[in-house]
């Protein structure tokens, strides 16, 4: 408990908190410039998220893919790679889950749903591992390959939906079998039909897994060594190529799960997308908000998810364009990254604190 309190007083916590406050303030200023009342706007945002059970459930739903794509980006980051491809891995995850969820019939839910989830995770993982393999074997920068694989995945998944799963006359697949659904119907009814599903819980488990795997296991030790100093890792006898592929695979599994949950828990079908849906790019932001720590990612996804979901309320009730939230999130990340600026602004506060002690 003492440790917990210490953490709250720690420098990085104060700086993060200050960054969030400064981001919200900056958003307020921008709103005032546009002639809006920031208090009304933030009020509407908060009441949208916490005002009723439906809003809260939907905010949780919004958070879930963010947690997972955030973990995906953070995990690759810890292994020394920048995975811009969570986007494509999410789409692959959706497709894997849709294929199993739609095409296989007659299984009990207890088997069908997990099978569909696993398929999604594998699709995402293998898609990311491809970029890892190309990096390990040919030395091609993963930033370019993952960007290219995003677009490739977009069209590949659209092709699969159009060819094998299409609901005739629509730009979407047919519905998944009820046995593949992971919606929690009783809870959903209690929460005014908010689309809550088991994926929310699994996403939290995933971040716990991330933590234990990376810092408590042998394989995590290898991944961190490779991420921190690949040359020293090689000298120490660690197989760097294998670990690059493995790290990307696990990263892709997180993203693939995000996609699978969206299909199986939220939409129950898969759309034909005209452009990249943005899950992966938001994941980059969440990973950075969370300072690439799994529990930080949880917090970051909470913040990001409530802000984005709440912004709809803001625009509905206070007429403020929801894009303001992107500005707020962008500046929060900016302030966290450029801690120098925050410390610069906090300086007078720190000084006073010291003087008090004296």
């Amino acid at each position: 408990m003492n440790k917990f309190l210490k953490w709250f007083a720690s420098d990085s916590f104060i700086v993060s908190l200050a960054a969030i406050v400064m981001g919200l303030l900056l958003g307020a200023v921008v709103m005032m410039i546009g002639g809006y009342n920031p208090i009304t706007a933030y009020g509407a945002l908060i009441s949208r998220v916490f005002g009723d059970w439906y809003g809260f459930g939907e905010a949780l739903r919004e958070m879930t893919p963010l947690v997972l794509t955030g973990l995906a980006v953070a995990f690759a980051f810890r292994a020394g790679m920048f995975n811009i491809g969570a986007e494509g891995q999410v789409l692959m995850g959706m497709t894997g889950a849709s294929l199993i969820g739609i095409k296989i019939t007659g299984l009990p839910a207890l088997i069908h749903a997990p099978l569909a989830i696993i398929a999604g995770a594998l699709f995402g993982g293998l898609w990311a591992a491809l970029a890892g393999y190309i990096k390990a074997k040919r030395g091609v920068n993963e930033v370019i390959t993952t960007i290219m694989l995003n677009w490739t995945a977009l069209f590949l998944c659209n092709y699969i939906v159009r060819t094998f799963l299409l609901m005739p006359g629509n730009q979407r697949s047919v519905d998944i079998q009820p046995s593949a659904s992971i919606s929690i119907d009783w809870l959903s009814q209690m929460m005014g039909n908010a689309r809550v599903h088991w994926g929310i819980l699994l996403a939290m488990l995933a971040s716990t897994f991330f933590y234990y795997f990376l810092w408590k296991t042998k394989q995590g030790f290898e991944l961190r060594a490779v991420g921190s100093n690949p040359e020293a890792a090689r000298y120490a006898g660690i197989n760097v190529s294998k670990n690059i592929v493995k790290a990307m695979f696990i990263s892709g599994v997180f993203a693939g799960l995000a996609g699978a949950f969206e299909t199986l828990g939220v939409f129950h079908y898969q759309s034909v997308y005209s452009s990249l849906p943005g899950y992966g790019f938001n994941g980059i932001a969440v990973a950075l908000l969370g300072m690439t720590h799994p529990f930080g990612v949880l917090a970051g996804a909470g913040l990001f998810g409530s802000l984005t979901y709440g912004s709809a309320g803001m625009s509905f009730d206070a007429g403020v364009p929801p894009e303001i939230i992107q500005i707020v999130i962008g500046s929060i990340i900016f302030f966290i990254a450029a801690q120098g600026i925050v410390r610069f602004i906090l300086k007078p506060v720190y000084k006073r604190k010291k003087e008090k002690v004296l």
Binding site: K218, E222, A225, N229, A232, Y235, A236, G237
Partner: protein, 510 residues
């Protein structure tokens, strides 16, 4: 009455958080003299010179150039005052040509926009000829030898019209021949009216080239003496603060059976250039074999081949009777090879890992450090505590990041880890580079102890003194081949230097 010094440092004090790097230091440099600044690593020499070169500002004291007080607030200002610095770690852009590196920041140009390469090349050529540098102005830095790169550094200062040259540990990376050439160059510079400050911790150089010596210890001036009125022993004592022995204490070696046999090993790089050309040697139980040679003659490659980091194209490497050529680094490590790598930061440690994690960098996957896939922190920390104590690694705690340890303690940590593996064959690549006298003694003693315990030790070093003092047998490598083998007690600098330059005379077995 003495002439006005060209540079006078008056009571310079510089503090960094936690330490006083320079404590009221005063030094006079006379025109046309070579003034040596002697001190151990961390004594404050570099800080002082960075102040003179305008990279740091002194907290107290001031500088006079030709009798006038000056404020040197940037390298630009120093250059303006005619002060030039030849850095220890060359500040050269690898992908640029010699000329580009020299003219950078003061480019001759047409109308201030386009670089006039013709004039530039001519100027560089002229300067180079004037001092006998024999350098190709159009060569890329990455293609020329270390000795040549140093000449580029010197030319940079001359091109800017420097009259006062600071040489920071200039011989650390040079061969004996290159060192004597450098000394020639320094004499020529002085003869042309330049003045030189020579920073070094090598007594031999000081005795052979300098006029005056100032000794610094822990940020304070201990003494300033005329070189011809002192002796190496006196200087050493003043530098370290106690008596030092130059000879490493050791018993004669008692070599046993062959532990490692390298036979006809050849390696080519991706471009097809031969790096190892049929290298052959062996190391026996209970002996230290020193590898002497100019940097770039296959030392790196043979070490990499021996530790599994590089594939060999032909030949064989046999450890205790078993072939280990082209095995993976882990297989080789497990068959009993320890490796103290040349580059601590890049290859020896994961700097962002804790001391404790670094201690198990090669054994983390074994029992008891891993149990059922999970790390066993109690066992890891126990090991780390034991090694930190046994090898006197100074660290605030075993959870401290390796990055924040001093160079000497980082090296101790690596040695602790490698020796703890209890290897039959230990490779030590440049194990004392950049360490202070105390740490050097420690490292060398450890190597000899390993030998005495019956291990085979291969020592690769560019410090000839170290090779001569520590080894029981010396092999000389040249262009990827062993071209000679000598006993340390039967040879000297000159002979070794000639062999390292490719001459086979004196070689017994080539």
């Amino acid at each position: 009455m003495a002439a006005t010094p060209v540079v006078e440092l008056k009571q310079i004090t510089k503090r960094f958080p936690g330490i006083v790097a320079n404590d009221s230091i005063s030094i006079k440099l006379q025109k046309g003299e070579i003034h040596a600044l002697l001190g151990e690593n961390g004594a404050g020499k570099s800080t002082l010179m960075n102040i003179l070169f305008g990279l740091y500002q002194p907290d107290e004291g001031h500088i006079e150039v030709n009798g006038e007080a000056v404020a040197i607030d940037s390298p630009n200002k120093a250059i303006e005052l005619g002060i030039g610095m030849v850095h220890q770690h060359f500040k050269l852009v690898q992908s640029f040509s010699v000329t580009e590196n020299i003219i950078l920041g003061m480019e001759p140009s047409k109308g201030g926009i386009q670089i006039d390469y013709k004039t530039a090349t001519e100027k560089v050529k002229k300067l180079s000829d004037q001092y006998g540098f024999r350098i190709d102005p159009n060569a890329k830095i990455e293609d020329i030898s270390v000795g040549m790169q140093q000449r580029v550094e010197i030319l940079k200062t001359l091109y800017r019209g420097a009259d006062i040259l600071i040489f920071d540990e200039p011989t650390a990376v040079l061969t004996p021949q290159e060192i004597s050439e450098l000394i020639e160059i320094m004499r020529k510079l002085v003869a042309e009216g330049k003045s030189i400050i020579l920073i070094t911790h090598k007594l031999k150089e000081i005795m052979s080239v300098s006029d005056t010596v100032t000794i610094i210890r822990r940020g304070k001036v201990i003494d300033t003496v005329k070189t011809n009125e002192t002796s190496p022993f006196e200087l050493a004592e003043k530098m370290v603060g106690r008596n030092v022995s130059f000879k490493v204490d050791k018993k004669p070696a008692e070599p046993g059976e062959k532990v490692i046999e390298v036979k006809d090993v050849s390696v080519k790089n991706k471009e097809g250039i031969t790096l190892l050309d049929g290298m052959t040697f062996d190391v026996r139980r209970g002996e230290i074999v020193g590898v002497a040679g100019v940097d770039g003659n296959g030392q790196t490659q043979i070490i990499e081949a021996l530790s599994g980091l590089r594939k060999i194209d032909s030949g064989s490497i046999v450890l205790n009777g078993k072939e280990i050529g082209n095995h993976t680094p882990r297989q080789i490590s497990e068959s009993g090879v320890g490796h103290i790598p040349e580059d601590r930061h890049k290859h020896g440690l994961v700097l962002d890992f804790s001391v404790s994690e670094n201690m198990v960098l090669e054994s983390y996957y074994k029992e008891p450090y891993t149990k059922r896939g999970f790390l066993n922190f109690r066992a890891i920390n126990d090991l780390a505590k034991r090694l930190v104590e046994a090898f006197d690694v100074r660290t605030p705690s075993i959870q401290t990041k390796a990055r924040s340890l001093s160079g000497g303690n980082q090296q101790k940590a690596i040695i602790a880890r490698e020796i703890n593996k209890n290897p039959d064959f230990l490779i030590a690549a440049q194990p004392t580079r950049g360490l202070d006298v105390g740490a050097i003694e420690f490292v060398q003693t450890q190597l000899i102890q390993q030998r005495d315990q019956g291990k085979a030790v291969l020592l690769v070093s560019f410090e000839l003194d170290e090779i001569l003092n520590v080894s029981d047998r010396i092999i000389v490598v040249y262009e990827g081949k062993v071209i000679g083998e000598v006993r340390p007690e039967e040879t000297n600098d000159q002979e070794l230097g000639l062999m390292m330059a490719g001459s086979r005379q004196g070689g017994t077995k080539a």
